[in-house]
């Protein structure tokens, strides 16, 4: 009983933590000042009343850039995970649904993509598309496609072979109906948990790519890029590098905790065990 409460508290905390950060990103223009305004007279300043987290090498407000960086990070990673879910998830479910040669071709293709080192595949795709936030979203999305395809194919196979889907088929339910009324509802919790965890990972990958100069480009603020710029003058002013690092950590941490807490709450096996 106490354990259940603790776990729910954790979920509660995770949800609040994530919502606060999303809120900061969404309402960034209302909360913080202009992330683009350069004031050469106040470059590389420490935290003060005017600049809550100090200023960067061009005299821009670090707090504003971090909040707008949250936007870049969430938009890029969110788009990537959504893309991976739509493409990879559909491929996985369809492969399970139709089986046979379609299944075999799709899953071999997934194996090929999966065999690439994550960062290298992303770097290659971005090199082809040109370095910007949109390319980064596409690249991370493609990298994660096989993860969703593999994740959803297994349970889909089980569900497709289950008696009630067999039954539904026997009474002539259409393929579309089976997918939407039987497959998806049963996979929702798996999808939710995985999407949250992957979002957490995508935020880190996006930050690494931006760190290498392959994500959103200046003057658009992004967390990895702030970190990369800030490390160049770490001894002169550590604030941009330190705060942007924490920002990446908090954002990624929030979604990972959320996914983790969700899994505990939604996973029927663990739930059953506690009763």
């Amino acid at each position: 009983m106490i354990a259940t409460l603790t776990r729910d508290k954790l979920l509660f905390f995770a949800v609040i933590f994530v919502i606060v950060q999303i809120g900061l990103a969404v309402f960034a223009p209302l909360i913080a000042g202009d992330p683009f305004a350069q004031i050469m007279a106040s470059r590389m300043q420490g935290p003060s009343a005017d600049n809550l987290l100090g200023t960067d090498q061009l005299g821009r407000d670090v707090f504003a850039r971090i909040l707008f960086g949250y936007r870049t990070s969430l938009l890029t990673s969110g788009t990537a995970v959504l893309l991976a879910l739509l493409v990879g998830g559909s491929l996985g479910m369809l492969a399970a649904f139709y089986r046979g040669w379609f299944d075999r071709i799709v899953m071999r293709l997934m194996d090929v993509l999966f065999a690439f080192p994550i960062m290298l595949l992303a770097i290659g795709i971005i090199a082809v598309l040109g370095p910007n936030a949109f390319s980064a979203a596409i690249a991370i999305g493609i990298v994660y496609v096989p993860i969703f395809a593999r994740l959803l194919r297994g349970p889909s196979l089980v569900i497709c072979e289950s008696e009630y889907v067999m039954g539904a088929r026997a009474i002539g339910a259409s393929d579309v109906r089976i997918v939407f009324s039987h497959l998806l509802p049963n996979l929702a919790s798996v999808i939710l948990v995985q999407a949250s965890l992957l979002l957490s990972a995508a935020i880190l990958v996006e930050a690494s790519l931006s760190f290498l100069g392959l994500g959103a480009q200046p003057p658009i603020p992004s967390l990895g890029q702030m970190l990369a710029e800030g490390r160049n003058f770490l001894l002169l002013s550590p604030w941009p590098a330190v705060f942007s690092g924490f920002a990446i950590l908090f954002l990624s941490f929030g979604f990972n905790l959320l996914g983790d807490a969700l899994r505990d709450t939604l996973d029927p096996r663990l739930r059953g065990q506690e009763q």
Binding site: F36, Q38, M40, R43, Q57, L58, G59, A127, G130, P131, N132, G213, Q217, P218, P219, E229, R231, N232, F233, L234, L235, L236
Partner: protein
């Protein structure tokens, strides 16, 4: 088989050197060289390793940018300026033990000029029409027209053994020259090691036994490595790192004015930069002092068309009227010329931190005068391709400089010039450039280049932004280091290590 023997010999020599408690100088550079053939690879990360260390030219550029004798001990120029006769140093040997003769010099020049080798250096000596070996130590060059910068250009042409004339592979991996250091080992992505050449033409030099160019991509990593004594020299330190290292104990930061500069290029073929008035207005919109403060951490001076390091040539930037930052006047000028504001443009940006920062400051400054610029930060390949195809409105970049005005101006601003990607073609500039190139009278040459600078500064296709400060950070255990504005480590042979 042959390679193995060579490898064993190298390994053996390394052991001997190591056994004698060798003094090794560790230098940290940011990227691997793309090859070590001096006629094929002209990028700074290759030149810094082999230029003036493994290789030497007929002449050399000293720390004060004057032309000094190197492999040629003296030379004579005919009165019409068309013929140069060089006397070579005697008793010079290559690292492979063979003697260097006039035949090797001739072969090296032919190698650079040949179509098959396709050396990017070819245009620097393209006026040479005839190469004649007079005897073993005398060589004579004939030009198609007087070409004053030839002595400067020859400093950049490494002399290699004659048998390399049509070989485009060997030197890339195993450089062979006449310089104070000979090639020892190249560990890809690890280091390039050079060892002192015992038969170097100058007795008693070099003073250290081994020089290692360690490849360390991270600036922060290089910085910590120098402070902790792991590396002794960091050539070409960026301004932020230089500022931080100045405060570090037992590190000295040597500084000099760079020959290379940052710039914003304009496409003189596309509207609106096809109009001189728009180019002038753009220059007026910029506040170069602020750009230097923000993007270069204060390390630099406003740039005119020539580096102030060229003390005999450069016109003081204060005399350019368009350099007094005045966005309001720029805007008024554009409106008067009937140009609709705001002007929407894109700017390609070279992927380098200082250039990215410059682009951001320029974007904000130009906005005040009515230029609405979108920044396109590109991958290097895309940037080069667009540059070559003149596919840009504006671009922000950095250029290497040249110790002679003609070396830079002619190919960049002459109509149809080989690096005139701006498609700039101005009759007056063309005429003055021809004059500067063919006149041997110093005063007349100076007058021509003054006029060129005055015109180009405000209405040329390049807004010259800043000459940075070339900083080289040196650990205090190093003695005798002198910085050279052309970025080469010319003084390495005189350097010694104290413990």
């Amino acid at each position: 088989m042959h390679l193995k023997t060579l490898g064993a010999a190298l390994a053996l020599s390394t052991c001997i050197v190591a056994g004698a408690q060798a003094a090794t100088l560790d230098i940290a550079v940011d990227s691997s060289p793309a090859g070590l053939d001096p006629h094929l690879i002209t990028a700074f990360n290759s030149v810094v390793i082999v230029g003036d260390t493994v290789y030497e030219g007929l002449t050399m550029i000293a720390e004060d940018l004057s032309v000094q004798p190197a492999l040629a001990s003296s030379w004579e120029v005919s009165d019409d300026g068309l013929n140069y006769t060089f006397e070579l140093e005697e008793g010079v040997t290559f690292h492979d033990g063979s003697a260097m003769t006039a035949e090797d010099v001739a072969a090296s020049l032919r190698r650079v000029l040949s179509e098959e080798v396709a050396s990017p250096l070819a245009s620097r000596i393209s006026p040479i029409t005839d190469i004649t070996v007079v005897d073993d130590t005398t060589i004579s060059l004939t030009l198609d027209a007087p070409f004053a910068p030839i002595l400067t250009s020859l400093a950049g042409i490494a002399i290699v053994p004659a048998e390399m004339e049509s070989d485009v592979e060997s030197l890339q991996q195993t450089p062979v020259g006449t310089g104070p250091f000979r090639f020892n080992e190249w560990k890809p992505n690890g280091y390039v090691s050079l060892v002192g050449f015992d038969d170097y033409r100058q007795e008693g030099l070099p003073k250290v036994d081994e020089v290692r160019f360690n490849i360390v991509p991270e600036a922060a990593t290089r910085q910590v490595g120098l402070s902790s004594g792991q590396f002794e020299i960091l050539p070409g330190v960026d301004p932020a790192t230089a500022l931080q290292l100045q405060a570090a104990p037992s590190v000295t930061v040597h500084e000099t004015r760079e020959l290379s500069y940052t710039l914003v290029g304009m496409n003189a073929e596309r509207a609106p930069f096809d109009q001189a008035v728009v180019r002038r207005a753009f220059n007026m919109a910029l506040d170069r002092g602020e750009i230097i403060q923000g993007a270069l951490f204060g390390a630099g001076v406003p740039a005119g068309p020539l580096s102030p390091a060229l003390v005999n040539w450069a016109v003081d930037t204060d005399s350019f009227d368009c350099y007094a930052s005045d966005p309001e006047a720029a805007r008024a000028m554009l409106e008067e010329a009937g140009i609709e504001l705001p002007i929407e443009l894109s700017m390609n940006v070279l992927p380098r931190q200082d250039v990215k920062d410059i682009a951001q400051v320029v974007q904000q400054q130009a906005a005040e005068a009515g230029f609405e610029i979108e920044l396109l930060n590109q991958e290097i390949g895309q940037f080069v391709q667009d540059w070559r195809n003149s596919n840009f409105d504006l671009f922000a970049s950095a250029n290497g400089g040249n110790p002679d005005p003609d070396g830079y101006f002619y190919r960049t601003f002459y109509g149809g010039g080989s690096t005139n990607v701006f498609k700039y073609d101005d009759a007056e500039i063309n005429r003055l450039l021809d004059e500067g190139r063919t006149t041997t009278d110093a005063a007349a040459r100076k007058a021509a280049y003054d006029a060129i600078q005055n015109k180009l500064a405000c209405e040329g296709p390049i807004a010259h932004i800043a000459y940075g400060t070339l900083a080289t950070a040196v650990h205090d255990s190093v003695e005798g280091f002198e910085i050279n504005p052309n970025r080469r480590l010319t003084s390495l042979k005189q350097v010694s290590l104290s413990e």
